[in-house]
């Protein structure tokens, strides 16, 4: 294996359109992204950034592919840690698919985050964050509240 990759899946009782909104609306992302928020106009080639609540940039990059409400690909680099920034750009793909979950409409969200290097510290770092963010996102969409309001 010549790269580092994580694949995360969560099932959410919602529609692809609502999930797309949840992934791309700045104010909405702020509610589940452990205090940070995502900003972009979500068109291929546009800049993308993840900012902390005080405005500092955590991560930044570019939208590679945007096919609402099905698929989103972001070129993604950490900006605040010199060690992680030095690893360069990773690729984060969001895939949204409609499924039947216990008789009700649900969507399967698959997040694939990878970088072209072995033993990536960046992928190691995001591997701890993604499950918390996805849990928050699921909980927020399904119940209207998050489980972890701020970064612990």
């Amino acid at each position: 294996m010549s790269n580092s990759r994580f694949v995360y899946v969560t099932y959410i009782k919602t529609t692809p359109e609502r999930l797309w909104f949840a992934l791309t609306d700045k104010a909405f992302t702020q509610q589940y992204w452990l205090g940070a928020c995502c900003e972009s106009d979500w068109k291929a080639g546009s800049p993308w950034k993840l900012a902390f609540s005080d405005g500092r940039i955590a991560d930044a990059g570019e939208i590679v592919e945007a096919d609402p409400p099905r698929r989103l690909v972001i070129k993604w680099r950490n900006e605040w840690s010199p060690e992680l920034k030095a690893e360069g750009y990773s690729l984060c793909t969001f895939e949204i698919e409609t499924v039947q979950d216990a008789g009700t409409d649900a969507v399967k969200l698959r997040v694939i985050h990878s970088i072209d290097r072995l033993e990536s510290a960046f992928i190691q770092a995001v591997s701890g964050g993604w499950p918390r963010i996805l849990s928050n996102l699921k909980s927020l969409i399904e119940t209207g509240s998050v489980v972890i309001p701020k970064k612990a």
């Binding site: 994580f6 694949v7 969560t10 591997s127 996805l134």
Partner: protein
């Protein structure tokens, strides 16, 4: 994804050991996962199917290879729902006590 499926999938030592192997190194083929295990290939395939059904394992096709990844999201949700609620700090102190007492016995 139903919580019942996750608990059922976790209620088996062989499946938990497969999750441990994927935790040590995510993104393994079936052959790699079978290496050094006292389980038949068929048994590993069956267990992986149950883990995949419970959304604890996800797969990704890379060329001709099917790679298996640990999906920690359901485990995280169990943690939030069943552990954090019952005060994680006290549980950590208790498990540390248990670890120390048990290591003294050796």
């Amino acid at each position: 994804m139903e919580m019942d499926d996750v608990f059922k999938a976790l209620a088996d030592a062989s499946r938990r050991s497969l999750l441990d192997r994927l935790h040590a190194r995510s993104g393994q083929t079936l052959n790699e996962l079978c290496e050094g295990l006292a389980m038949t290939r068929q048994a590993v395939t069956k267990h992986l199917g149950i883990l995949e059904e419970a959304n604890l394992v996800t797969t990704f096709r890379q060329g001709r290879e099917k790679l298996h990844y640990l999906n920690p999201v359901p485990i995280h949700q169990i943690g939030e729902r069943w552990i954090r609620k019952f005060e994680r700090g006290k549980l950590a102190a208790l498990s540390e006590l248990k670890r120390r007492l048990e290591s003294e016995e050796k």
